[in-house]
């Protein structure tokens, strides 16, 4: 068998492509849901960590520290295999989405906190002196500036989340990696894995390019 027949076998590709595509769809959906939920969760946790009263501030810190130190694989197994023992049975998709969200939310919270704390005090004072409410100060003045600062690290976080979706195959999620390994076993040929790798690159590369463009645009707009 030649190199091409082994690693890029067109017959194997044709047979396994529909499976891989459905796996890609699952991976994309899981990634998007976890990223979006993680961003929202992270923003609120960051605000709680910086501005709320003591018990909530402490809770936010504990949450951030724990979920940044628990390995995602362990968390996935706990959510999927252990929670049913206390009566909470989640679907594979929900289990994976919850675990990914909890972890990406913790990272996003730290990123948001760093972004907010990088805004000079004068911006808060000017907003307060104008009589802006807390909500308007955050949505109109602080967060738009913080977002420019946090976009590069948040994007790295997004890329990590999408890569981490591959771990969801351990809880029987038919994601891209799971489909690829199954197809590989079925066909006794590594082509599906190679194609899956190319698919991961294909969805992550545009993300990286997009970020570069956003960063350049923000640099021109702001001071």
């Amino acid at each position: 068998m030649s190199f091409a027949e082994t690693f890029l076998n067109l017959d194997v590709l044709r047979n396994s492509f529909p499976l891989l595509l459905s796996g890609l769809g699952v991976t994309a959906r899981l990634g998007l849901v976890s990223i979006a939920a993680g961003l929202v969760l992270g923003l609120f946790v960051a605000l709680a960590r910086i501005y709320s009263v003591q018990p909530f501030r402490l809770l936010a810190r504990i949450y951030i520290d724990i979920f940044r130190s628990v390995p995602l694989l362990v968390l996935l197994i706990v959510v999927y295999y252990a929670l049913p023992f206390v009566g909470l049975r989640l679907s594979p998709f929900m289990s994976a989405a919850c675990a990914l969200t909890l972890v990406s939310g913790a990272y996003a919270a730290e990123i948001f906190r760093a972004g907010i704390e990088a805004i000079p005090r004068g911006q808060f004072e000017a907003s307060q002196a104008l009589g802006l409410s807390y909500r308007h100060m955050m949505t109109d003045v602080i967060l738009p500036q913080a977002i420019r600062i946090v976009i590069p690290p948040l994007t790295n976080n997004c890329i990590n989340v999408i890569k981490d979706t591959a771990l969801a195959s351990v809880v029987a999620m038919p994601d891209l990696l799971k489909q690829a390994t199954q197809a590989q076993a079925l066909e006794a040929n590594p082509t599906p894995l190679i194609v899956a790798a190319l698919m991961y690159v294909a969805i992550l590369w545009p993300l990286v390019l997009l970020v570069g463009r956003l960063e350049r645009r923000f640099r021109q707009g702001g001071s």
């Binding site: 000079p120 004068g122 911006q123 004072e125 000017a126 307060q128 002196a129 104008l130 009589g131 802006l132 409410s133 308007h136 109109d140 003045v141 738009p144 500036q145 420019r148 707009g221 702001g222 001071s223």
Partner: protein, 245 residues
């Protein structure tokens, strides 16, 4: 006539340092008060207490237009009536000049976008920057930025305007344009409390000059009284030190 700003027995302690001690001050409508004194005298702290950017000891109280300044629901309402111009401008770098000015009238006063922008352009015209409405703060000189900051404060139509060393961060050649705008405001009846090192401005524009040192009001009077015939030794030595260089 009732005072717009009324400060009673204001004290503030920063750890072990006593920053303000028993300061009382009434400012009437249309009055221009200049606060002078050496660095560390508590001048900036005093005016930053008026809109509660600095907290102060419970023994003191401040009223703006009859409303007590303290933490709580009415604080934003009080702050909306007190405009402030900062030493470092503190414009919002992500908004155009026009939107810097229009933001608070829209969000706090409930103006429509069109009304707020029209007001912003009127005020930009007043500070001589009508041509710069669509620029970002970073594209303007320091003097121009400070004039935008003045327009932003004016856009809320506050009862009183506070200036916290508005020309101290400026290159010397830009001080004049900002002082000109402030003179224009003083002439048009805006109530102003100005912390400044510009003695010429204080002498020319102030209705009343307050000399502070060590967290206390040492002397207060008309510019002529304070500058030409200071009663207190500390005022005399401060003025001498300034005039000598």
């Amino acid at each position: 006539m009732a005072a717009i700003v009324s400060i009673r027995n204001l004290s503030k302690r920063f750890g072990s340092a006593q920053v303000l001690t028993g300061v009382s001050l009434d400012v009437e409508e249309g009055e221009v008060v200049c606060v002078i004194g050496p660095s560390g005298a508590g001048k900036s702290t005093l005016i930053r207490c008026i809109n509660l950017l600095e907290d102060f000891d419970k023994s003191g109280e401040i009223f703006v237009d009859g409303i007590e300044v303290r933490k709580g629901r009415q604080l934003a309402a009080v702050r909306a009536e007190v405009g402030m111009v900062f030493q470092s401008f503190n414009l919002f770098p992500h908004l155009t000049v026009q939107d810097n000015i229009a933001l608070a009238p829209e969000r706090v006063r409930g103006l429509s976008v069109e009304e707020a922008r029209a007001r912003a352009r009127r005020l930009l015209d007043r500070v001589g920057l009508a041509a710069h409405a669509d620029k970002y703060p970073g594209q303007l000189s320091g003097g121009q930025q400070q004039r935008v900051a003045i327009a932003r404060a004016l856009a809320m139509e506050p009862r009183v305007l506070l200036f916290d060393e508005p020309t101290s961060a400026l290159d010397p050649e830009m001080v004049g344009e900002v002082l000109e705008v402030m003179k224009g405001l003083a002439g048009s009846g805006v109530t102003m409390i100005v912390v400044t090192h510009e003695m010429g401005f204080a002498r020319q524009v102030a209705d009343r000059v307050i000399f502070m040192d060590g967290g206390q009001v040492v002397e207060t009077g008309t510019p002529q009284q304070v500058f030409d015939a200071p009663r207190e030794q500390r005022t005399r030595s401060f003025l001498n030190a300034i005039i000598r260089h």
